[in-house]
């Protein structure tokens, strides 16, 4: 006997809503300072360029990378 719930699963596949774009691949990015071209090194305040003082983010708080590993 055919599985009666297959119809339900098929309907769910067909009627699936897609919101925006699906991200299929992971990626890594580094943000470079648009003013001097320097990357952001660890152990610095990530809101501001450590070399020329350019502000990446318009906030007063400091953001530092947590210990990762």
């Amino acid at each position: 006997m055919a599985n009666p719930f297959k119809k339900t699963t098929n309907n769910a596949n067909i009627s699936k809503n897609i919101y925006g774009t699906e991200r299929e691949t992971s990626e890594t990015k580094t943000r470079k300072c648009p003013n001097c071209g320097a990357a952001r090194p660890a152990d610095t305040n990530l809101t501001t360029c450590d070399y020329c003082g350019f502000q990446f983010m318009d906030i007063k708080d400091e953001i530092r990378i947590d210990d990762q590993k």
Binding site: N3, P4, F5, K6, T8, T9, N11, A12, N13, S15, K16, E22, R23, E24, T25, S26, E27, T28, K29, T30, R31, A39, R40, P41, A42, D43, L46, I65, D66, Q68, K69
Partner: protein
């Protein structure tokens, strides 16, 4: 006398064991038995359809969990069917032989199957099926974190964390540059299903908790001034089982999300809060 004042109830009692009534009871029992068999078969079919769908949809968890909610509604409807059949078909025929109050045990058979068997099994099955779907999804999605990622500044290999399922900073060990790692959607979705896995892994503790809840439900709350020792003991047993379940649940969750390891004790207390509120209402302490 002349049959004018013949008691209707007496007449019905005379026919209480009427073969027609016995036949009706037998048909009702057969119907309930068939419903239970069909329900149990449906659980097997539901599991098969959902797990197949997860694989066939290339581990797209959305439609599989959506389908589960649809299937759950269909399973619940089987319970409702028992009630409607009794009210609309069985009861009117039985009333030809007995009074309403004499048929309470027949109604109770249907209620028992619906409440104690079907609803209880669905509740447990939900933990099981969501857990199994989630574990399969996790095993599939976590592989994406094992891929090789490179620092976009110097090209050296960087190690991303296997227990963070959202975008996070990663430092390159070679050039010390901070990279932002943005995971794909499947990695992100792991965070949504970790709770299902934790609950599934605490299923034995959940069973024990349900057992103590049922034991307490089957007891009559003591009246004022009455000895409440047995009731109090049942409450304490339930407290222990509930606490054990939540402790297991949060411990399992922290296995996948170590950031929550420090808050296990606090989280358990939050979950137990309603329990102590109930105890205060019922037992006054």
């Amino acid at each position: 006398m002349f049959g004018f004042f013949g008691n209707k109830k007496e007449k019905k009692q005379e026919t209480a064991e009427h073969p027609e009534f016995i036949k009706l009871v037998e048909r009702w029992d057969t119907f309930l038995s068939k419903m239970e068999t069909r329900f149990n078969e449906s659980l097997i079919q539901a599991k098969e359809a959902l797990l197949d769908n997860l694989e066939e949809s290339n581990y797209d968890i959305h439609p599989t969990l959506t389908a589960w909610h649809g299937i759950k509604a269909q399973l619940m409807a089987m319970g409702n069917k028992i009630n409607t059949t009794y009210d609309e078909k069985v009861l009117p025929q039985m009333l030809n032989h007995k009074e309403h109050y004499q048929l309470l045990d027949q109604a109770a058979k249907g209620t028992y199957l619906r409440e104690q068997v079907i609803h209880t099994k669905i509740e447990r099955f939900e933990i099981e099926i969501e857990g199994e779907i989630s574990i399969r999804f996790y095993n599939h999605a976590v592989h994406f974190l094992n891929k090789s990622f490179k620092c976009t500044q110097c090209g050296a290999k960087i190690e991303v964390r296997k227990d963070i399922f959202h975008a996070h900073y990663v430092t390159c060990d070679y050039c010390n540059t901070v990279n932002t790692f943005t995971p794909n959607d499947k990695i992100t979705q792991i965070r949504w299903i970790v709770d299902n896995i934790a609950k599934y892994k605490a299923l034995n503790e959940w069973d024990a908790m349900q057992k103590t809840e049922n034991e307490l439900m089957n007891m009559c709350p003591p009246h004022k001034g009455q000895d409440n020792t047995a009731y109090k003991n049942a409450f304490e047993k339930r407290e222990k089982a509930t606490r054990t379940f939540w402790t297991k649940y949060f411990t399992e969750r922290a296995e996948y999300l170590p950031e929550y390891a420090d808050t296990i004790e606090h989280d358990v207390e939050v979950k137990m809060k309603w329990f102590y509120e109930e105890r205060k209402r019922e037992l006054g302490y």
